[in-house]
Amino acid sequence: MSLLSVEDLVVRHGLLQAVRGVSFSVERGETLALVGANGAGKTTLLRAIAGAHQAASGRVIFDGADLSGVPSHERVRKGIALVPEGRRLFVQMTVEENLLLGRTAGRPGDWSVERVLETFPNLKPRRHAKAGHLSGGEQQATAIGRALMSNPDLLLLDEVSLGLSPLVVDRVYASLRGLISSGTTIILVEQDLNRALSVSSKVICMLEGRVALAGDSKNVSRDEVTKAYFGLHRKAAGGVPA
């Protein structure tokens, strides 16, 4: 049984139908990369899986249970954690407090403040700093750490490298590789295609709310993805996909 399966999911974001019938599934231990231009519906899809948006139709099935109508805080309890776009830290609170909040769901597991600080050594001296005063890389580490604190079975990462310097991105990805090798299931939204393909086993490219391309990360070409990304594949084909 897949850890997560998304079945013909339609999500409205405000009035916008941001996700227009998406289906896919993720097995335990897999890493799925989600790419696509802005407004393609990636963030909305992740947020819908995490329960921040309710589906207009279709289903999200996690660990065998239908999540329809389950609010976001309950989903954290079931083992889904989201690192939201823009980090969304509680800027008035310290790094430690942000991390402790991740424990609200009370799921048993190995993650502790200490372990997060071990994993992201750059946070160690910043433990009692307000999250609003952190650098971009430190903020990102805190956001990932906060999600890990709930000991999730499924980790959703939205644009973790956005606004970071390449050096910091390398560091973030090094820690992600650690997580992946320890068996954590991950869905990752990433702008940087090469990075996305290098860590993932599967890739989905979204365009205007739909899946424009899905494949094995090793087998898709950069060119294919670029075409799907800008919606040029269908112009070239001279038609509109059904």
Binding site: L15, Q17, N38, G39, D192, L197, E208, V225, F230, G231
Partner: protein, 246 residues
């Protein structure tokens, strides 16, 4: 770049915008001629919407100057800039929810364009018609769907009789047919000699209208010129997709 090209209708020089420690616009120089149609693309967080907000007067730049029709408008509030003919739309439509679609547009015609009653009626109806909204003219805006709200956003800006229109992602979430209509509408604006600056993520729509394309990334302009050329620019591709070819 201190000397603005002659005949520039809008020129911005040395624009910086910071929110706290966050630098969103980093030394932007931008000038365009009247009747030009300029597209702006760039990945999330590149500062496109912020640039539009600074140009339209929603908030002042942290540094730099903006001139419109030869006058310095850097400190002029949005209301005044609108009355001068520099009008914007909002990425997330901001309709006057308790008013009908017609009333929404009428406000812009009578205040933004400063028209008398009958001219304002003509202008408002004309804008609604151009945007295909006559059929829902009597609906309260809060009851409209997203597509109609986006159209209303455009119709309302048009009714203020802009000489230069700043469009922020009016194409998002449209079906192909709807996008086609939108392109037609924009082409009609061009025939009416209205200058256009258009931020859009749906690049293939933008390419049908823009005669010049600017790509922004991390608060800077990284490419500016012929649309096909800009889209082929490796720097632009890597701004979107990162890294070099695989």
């Amino acid at each position: 770049m201190n000397a603005m090209p002659n005949g520039a209708i809008l020129s911005a020089a040395g624009i910086h915008k910071r929110f706290g420690a966050l630098v969103v616009l980093d030394d932007i120089d931008f000038a365009m001629g009247a009747e030009e149609a300029v597209g702006i693309v760039g990945p999330n967080g590149a500062g496109k919407t912020t640039l539009l907000s600074v140009l339209s007067g929603a908030y002042p730049p942290s540094a730099g100057t903006i001139a419109f029709k030869g006058d310095d408008v850097t400190t002029l509030p949005a209301t005044q800039r609108c009355r001068l003919g520099l009008v914007r739309t909002h990425q997330v439509p901001k309709p006057f929810g308790g008013m009908t679609a017609f009333e929404n547009v009428f406000v812009a015609a009578s205040h933004g364009a400063g028209l008398g009653r009958d001219e304002a009626y003509e202008e408002a109806l004309g804008s609604l018609k151009l945007c295909g909204m006559l059929g829902v003219a009597n609906r309260r805006a809060e009851t409209l769907g997203l597509l109609d709200r986006k159209r209303l956003e455009l119709a309302r800006a048009l009714a203020a009789k802009p000489t230069l229109l700043l469009l922020d992602e009016i194409g998002g979430g449209l079906t192909d047919g709807e996008a086609g209509e939108l392109v037609e509408t924009i082409r009609e604006l061009r025939r009416r000699r209205i200058g256009i600056v258009w931020i859009e993520h749906i690049v293939h729509i933008l390419l049908q209208v823009a005669e010049r394309l600017i790509c922004m990334d991390a608060g800077k302009i990284i490419a500016d010129g012929d649309p096909q050329g800009v889209m082929a620019d490796p720097q632009v591709i890597s701004a979107y997709l990162g890294g070099g070819p695989k």
